[in-house]
Symmetry: C2
Subunit: 116 residues, 2 copies
């Protein structure tokens, strides 16, 4: 599957809120990078990245989720996320605004990197 | 200058339409990558990247220019551009929607890469 096709199908799954379906496009060796220090800075492998998502979902009330894109260049694509959310730890409703940059190899997402 | 400071000042210059001022943050060896094939795919060095911008400005009527960001991760930052423009070659007004990904080294932008 081409990078463009992976980007299109992965993004469609996210926009439909089908996160389990989106994970089908991950490589087993997918690595997820956050911009800040801490345990989420670099998470390696399908099981760990899935757990990261589970943790996030369990700890946030999501009021709205918008993904713009995909935007393509070579074997990479970007998405722009705008997520209105209340972290359960703080109870403070906030607007998340971030870019996700994805790298595709052999038809699978091998890396996701978040910018904010 | 830190990546965050470069990102902030470069973005402020772009948002103010001060493109000459933005170029101060380029390395002399800056490389600019587009997503499509052709002569603009990879443009190397300050003089050539400046000429690329001059060409673009001379060949487009810009109706509005919006830059969201900067979004940071490590030595990179991203911007989301929404530009309403009429290419003089076609006369067809169109909405450009793209992500710019910038890499900073030693306080200067060494690479810009556009996604669309």
């Amino acid at each position: 599957m081409s990078t463009a096709e992976v980007a299109k199908q992965f993004t469609a799954a996210l926009k439909a809120g089908k996160f389990d379906e989106a994970e089908r496009y991950w490589s087993d060796d997918v690595v997820s990078y956050e911009a800040q220090d801490g345990p989420m800075r670099e998470v390696r492998g399908r099981t760990a990245v899935h757990s990261k998502g589970e943790w996030w979902t369990a700890n946030h009330d999501v009021h709205s989720f918008e993904a713009e894109g995909p935007y393509l260049n070579g074997d990479c694509f970007a998405l722009h996320f705008k997520i209105n959310v209340t972290p359960k730890a703080t109870g403070q409703r906030t607007q998340m605004d971030e870019i996700g940059l994805y790298t595709v190899k052999d038809g699978k997402i091998v890396e996701e990197r978040f910018f904010y």
